[in-house]
Amino acid sequence: MTTMTFGRAITAGLRRAMEDDPKVILMGEDIGKLGGVFRITDGLQKDFGAHRVLDSPLAESGILGTAVGMAYRGYRPVVEIQFDGFIYPAFDQIVCQVAKLHYRTQGAVKMPITIRVPFGGGIGSPEHHSESPEAYFTHTSGLRVVSVSDPQDAYTMIQQAIASDDPVLYFEPKRRYHVKGEVDEASDRSASDMGTARVVARGTDVTLVTYGPLVPTARDAAVAASDEGTSIEVIDLRSLAPIDYATVEASVRKTGRLVITHEAAQSGGLGAEIAASITERCFDVLEHAPVRVTGFDIPYPYSKLEFHHLPDLDRILDGVDRVMRRHNSLSGLTREGVSQ
């Protein structure tokens, strides 16, 4: 076991994947000498060469489109999108090409492309640097979407994403890059399945589902709630498409209550999808409608207000109170005090 930051764990996973397979090629803006603006590819160009760690022109569609061509040629491109809000110029190539070529060619052409996306807010950045665009991609068939929340998962799952013959969007919560944890670098990448969710705190009263940047916040909320006598089971989804509903359903069948929290905007978001799917699957055991604690339906706000937008421990506990039908919760109430 080695103690390393979340960011370093991704670097170590990339390094291992490049050692294991000469067809793994890194592409992106500023990822060579600079090592990326978050230094995730630090040292990789020096060690593997400029032919395997390619600084790309500043054109996201171009990066993804050429990655498609590399994949056609038999390579496994790992693409870095510098910031979440910069992915949209590449949207067409991701949605129309990366996601659909395997289907279009009836399995003849594989698209083993990994798209790394530093995402989420909380770092005090200007517009376009703090977004959570995951739902655009979970809505697109042909893509797999994962998000990681701790160094061990970061290390293992980047290797699994690269090894996947299907394209994977790998969402990295950028405000957690400096969180430290234990990583077993000797562990095999097949030690776990990136498609499965993980229960990260056991509980019996409420199931709290989240992923990526809010996993530590959710764990903290569970600790705080237990001090008040509420037992929260926290699930880190890890895979956002597909979602491991078996794990979520098993938990909700135990607790009867579901809260979903994410930074992304509420309407049409993953929380809505999870609430609908779990309601369909276990309506009979639900004690309350599933509750969403999410970012607002607004453009990502300027930094001095971003912590009003981002769900924090207190807003998550407010959601827990709602699902527990406690009167101290104000959210979800109209001015007349009638629950919506």
Binding site: T66, G69, Y72, R73, Y75, Q93, C96, H102, G107, P242
Partner: protein
């Protein structure tokens, strides 16, 4: 060489009508004047006369009478395939067909320049290029009949599934060429697209990447003058080939209705790419004599005189005239070529009509290469739903 004045950028007599740019009467401002560099390379003129060319003759020195005949046969066959597919659409056997009528020389000339290990990334109109790659003809129709999402395995003929998103394939070709560089191979990626595509960001980004990495890729633009109803003047205010040098990519304008010239310039571009010289941009000036697709009606937007003018520059007719002048076009020969083309068309029709119908649950196949819990659940539900009809004791019961 004799200049073919009629070929000189008829599209540039006037630019597009930009709001505010025209006069009140609707006339448009004149486009820029041509310079000599914009004159397309031409070896066979519109009257079927072969002209010597100091530079390009050497690139087609091997093309003797027998080889010219092969090019002629290719063009007759692909025009016949095109006519048969159009007929199949009119008869309700295909949902849609994108005709290549008028672009035979551009596609056969360039397609016959390629090596087997070169890789083509095309749009949906390059049926003659696919023919050169050796496609199973029935495979040309699968998508248009609605029986499959693609016609062929790209690796069997080294030609990607035709691209529908305009210009997207130019980046794929560039990326593939970057892979060729990685491999230290001397194959070339060739991408086909139209004049409309040159307005797309992807095509411009592809040229940036190709130039920066000196990727072995050939950009083959068929300027057929029309992007559905939009004239080329709306896409470009200068000859399209002039753009590439701005990206650091050498370019050439070629008479796209001259099969020999298309062969020559493509060979040159391929040789440059193979020898480490990087990308080349070719603008083949040609004309879409038919509709955009069988769903289109060009009479709504273009002048019949324009079509007539271009018909006089027909790529097949001019090669026939040349062959005739060389004594290579007797009736026995033309009859034999026609019989070959008709036989191929009959095979095409037979292949179309005998294509197996897809199964309902084929919709779920190949979305992913590995099992997917969301999709598996939906497929399971749908299969049980379908089965419920077979188990129903009588109509209407559930």
């Amino acid at each position: 060489m004799t200049q073919d004045h009629a070929l000189q950028g008829s599209e540039f007599h006037g630019g597009p009508r930009v709001p505010g740019a025209g006069t009140a009467s609707g006339t448009v401002l004149p486009g820029p004047a041509h310079d000599g560099a914009d004159e397309p390379v031409q070896l066979i003129d519109r009257h079927g006369v072969r002209h010597a060319h100091e530079h390009y003759d050497g690139l087609v020195a091997d093309v003797d009478g027998a080889e010219l005949r092969k090019l002629y046969e290719d063009m007759v066959v692909v025009r016949r395939i095109d006519a048969e597919a159009t007929a199949l659409q009119r008869q309700g056997e295909l949902a849609l067909w994108p005709p290549l009528l008028g672009q035979e020389a551009a596609q056969i000339g360039s397609g016959r320049a390629l090596r087997e290990d070169d890789f083509v990334f095309s749009s949906y109109r390059e049926n003659a290029v696919a023919y050169c790659r050796g496609v199973d003809l029935t495979d040309l129709l699968r998508v248009w009949r609605g029986n499959a999402s693609s016609g062929w395995d790209p690796y069997t003929i080294n030609m990607a599934t035709p691209q529908v998103i305009i210009g997207a394939q130019t980046l794929h070709a560039t990326g593939y060429a970057m892979g060729i560089l990685q491999d230290g191979d001397d194959a070339v990626a060739v991408t086909y697209f139209g004049d409309g595509a040159t307005s797309q960001g992807d095509v411009n980004e592809a040229m940036v990447f190709a130039a920066s990495y000196q990727a072995p890729v050939v950009f083959f633009c068929q300027n057929n003058h029309w992007a559905i109803s939009e004239p080329v003047g709306l896409q470009a205010h200068v000859p399209i080939a002039r753009r590439a040098p701005g990206f650091g990519i050498p370019s050439v304008r070629v008479d796209g209705n001259d099969v020999l010239a298309c062969l020559a310039v493509t060979r040159e571009a391929l040789a440059r790419a193979r020898s480490g010289g990087g990308p080349t941009f070719i603008e083949a000036v040609t004309y879409r004599m038919g509709p955009h697709t069988t769903a289109d009606d060009p009479k709504r937007y273009r002048d019949a005189n324009e079509l007539e003018d271009w018909a006089s520059r027909d790529p097949l007719a001019r090669l026939a005239t040349l062959l005739d002048s060389l004594g290579l076009l007797d009736a026995d020969y033309t009859d034999a070529v026609k019989a070959t083309a008709d036989a191929i068309a009959a095979d095409l029709r037979q292949g179309c009509l005998s294509m197996p119908e897809p199964e309902p649950t084929d919709v779920f196949k190949h979305v992913y290469s590995a099992p997917n819990s969301w999709l598996d659940r939906q497929q399971d539900h749908y299969e049980r739903y379908l089965a419920s009809f077979e188990q129903a004791p009588q109509e209407g019961s559930r």
